[in-house]
Symmetry: C2
Subunit: 306 residues, 2 copies
C-alpha cells in the first residue's frame, strides 16, 4: 500500500543568513516524498525537463521512491524558483519563478498508481488536484495543501476540490484567508464545513494544530539549535504526517481516524520539518536515518510531557 504524491519537482536557488546555493533540488513533491519515504512506499507524479540531473534521480531512487509517474519533457526545462530569506528566516522574498515545463503540467497517473489508497496533493492548481483525485476512485485517504494565490483567485475551484478531501494542511495565514476568520478555532470550524474532517494548521517554528470536529491537538515546534534553510519544511511536515498514517495502514471509517494516530502523525510531521531545516535544501535527507527520526520523536515527548 503506497502513497501517491503529486506536486512540483524543481530546482531552487536559496539564500539564507547561513549561505547561498544557486541551484539545488527542490519542489514540494520532492520534499513530501523524501519525508514520507521513511514511513511508507512513495510514488511520485510530477514533470521535469531533460535538464533534470541523474544525481537527483538517484537520490529519489535511493529512497525507493517510484518515479514512473515523473514525466520528462524532451527539450523542456525544470521548474526553477529562487528566493532570499530575512535575517530571522520567518519571511522570504521570491526573486524568480520560471515555471518552464510546470506551466503545462497535466498529471496523468500510471495505471499502477491508480489503485493506491493514499494520496497527498501538493500545492498546485485546484483543478489539477481534482483531476488527480478523479484518477484514483478507490483512494482511502486524500489530503493536500494549497496557498494564498489559489484561495484568492481560484476560490470556487478550490472549494469544489476540497469537498473530496479528508484532510487539509495549510499555514495559519492561509487558514485565515480561506475562512475569513482571524481566530484559529473559528477559522478551523469554518474550514471543516468545506469538506475535510481534519485540518492541520502549520505554524512554522511554533508548531502545529490538528483540528477535528471533536476537538483539537496542539503541538509546539521542535526547538532547533540551528536553522540553516527552512525551504521545504512545511512540505516535509506534510510528508511525515501522511507518511506515518499510510505506514500504519490507517484508513478513515466514516470519517473517523484513531485520534492517537493523528496526534502521532502531527509529531512525526514536526520531526521531519525540523530535520529539513538543519541543512540546505534536501541535504539532510542524504544521511537521515529512521533511528534519528525515532530519537527525535522521543525527545519531543520528553520536552513536552507534564
Amino acid at each position: 500500500m503506497s502513497l501517491v504524491v503529486v506536486g512540483s519537482v524543481a530546482y531552487d536557488g536559496v539564500e539564507t543568513p547561513h549561505g547561498k546555493i544557486d541551484r539545488m533540488l527542490g519542489g514540494a513533491a520532492t520534499y513530501i516524498s523524501l519525508a514520507a519515504s521513511y514511513f511508507t512506499p512513495v510514488r511520485i507524479v510530477a514533470v521535469v525537463g531533460d535538464d533534470f540531473a541523474q544525481e537527483d534521480v538517484d537520490l529519489l531512487a535511493s529512497r525507493q521512491i517510484d518515479l514512473s509517474g515523473m514525466e520528462r519533457v524532451p527539450g523542456g526545462k525544470t521548474f526553477f524558483w529562487a528566493g532570499v530569506y530575512s535575517a530571522d528566516m520567518n519571511d522570504r522574498t521570491t526573486l524568480r519563478t520560471d515555471l518552464n515545463v510546470f506551466a503545462d503540467f497535466n498529471p496523468k497517473l500510471p495505471e499502477s498508481y491508480r489503485t493506491e489508497p493514499y494520496l497527498l496533493l501538493g500545492n498546485i492548481q485546484p483543478e489539477l488536484q481534482k483531476m488527480v483525485r478523479a484518477q484514483m476512485p478507490g483512494v482511502k485517504l486524500t489530503g493536500g495543501d494549497t496557498m494564498n494565490y489559489w484561495i484568492n483567485d481560484f476560490r470556487a475551484q478550490l472549494l469544489e476540490t476540497l469537498k473530496e478531501w479528508n484532510f487539509l494542511l495549510i499555514n495559519d495565514s492561509e487558514a485565515r484567508l480561506l475562512s475569513g476568520e482571524y481566530n484559529l478555532r473559528r477559522a478551523a470550524a469554518r474550514i471543516m464545513e468545506m469538506g475535510p474532517h481534519t485540518l492541520v494548521i502549520k505554524r512554522g517554528e511554533y508548531g502545529a494544530i490538528l483540528f477535528r470536529r471533536g476537538g483539537h491537538f496542539i503541538a509546539p515546534g521542535y526547538l532547533l539549535e540551528d536553522v540553516f534553510d527552512p525551504t521545504g519544511a512545511g512540505d516535509c511536515f506534510a510528508g511525515g504526517f501522511i507518511g506515518y498514517l499510510a505506514g500504519r495502514g490507517v484508513t478513515p471509517n466514516d470519517g473517523d481516524i484513531d485520534a492517537s494516530d493523528l496526534r502521532r502523525a502531527v509529531i512525526y510531521g514536526s520531526v521531519m520539518g525540523s530535520f529539513c531545516c538543519e541543512k540546505f535544501g534536501v541535504d539532510r535527507f542524504r544521511s537521515l536515518t529512521r533511528e534519528e527520526i525515532e530519537a527525535r520523536y522521543q525527545e519531543f515527548q520528553d520536552c513536552t510531557a507534564f
Copy 2:
C-alpha cells in the same frame, strides 16, 4: 508561607478591537498578585495615589491579598498607562505613560514581609529589584521580570541584580536582546550563565519554554476562542507560575527544583494568562474559580498529550 510581589499598581486605558475602557485597574503587581492568589497567600509591595479607589482595594482584598505594603501617597496620583492594540492584538502602541507616584517608588517591605520565602519582582528598575531582594535575606526562591528599556539602558545594574535570582521570566525578544543571540536555545544558555538557574521565555499566544541547565520544556499556548484584551497576560503567567510553586512549598535545594513541579508551574502560568485575556483588564478575576483553573489545566493536558 506567602509570596511577596513587588511592582506597579496602576490605572490603564486600553483599546482593543473589542472595545475601549478609559480607566481601569491594572499594573504588573496587580495582575501577578491576582493570578498567584489562587495558589498561595500573597503580600503586595507597591505605591498608589490617594485617587486609588476603594472598589479596587476591595477586589484585591477579596482575594486575601495583603495590602499592608501598598503605600498610599497623600495628594499623589496613581501611575496611569494608556495603549491601543493592533487588529491582531500582537502589537500595541503606548498612548500615554504618567508615572505619577511611581516615579519615586522606593519599596520598603513591612517587617511582616521580610521573612517570607517567595519573592516575585515585577518589571521595575533593576536597582529597586535588588534593594527589595536585600530586604529579604532569608528568601528561598526569587524570580522576576524585566524589559527592553532596562536591558538596553541599565544593563550593568540588571546583570548585578540577576545574579541573585533563581529564575527569570521574559519574552522572546527580551531574551534575544539580553543574550545577544537570536536562537532561543543559545540565548537561554547565555542567560543561565548570568545567574538564574531557570529561564522561562514567554511567547504570547505561542506558549512558553522553560530552560534549565539539564534541558528544556516547551508548551504551546492555550487556544482561546476569543481574546478580548491581552493586557496583563504575561504578568498573570508569572503569577500562576510562582504562585503554583509557592503553593506547593517548593524550595530550590542547591539550585535543584523538581522538574515536574516546574513543568506544571508553566502550564498553570499559561492557564492564568489565558483567563486574563478573556475579559478586559482584571475583570475575569472577579468571577474566576479554582475549579475553572483545574478544568483548564486538564483541558491543556487533553489537547497536548500524544
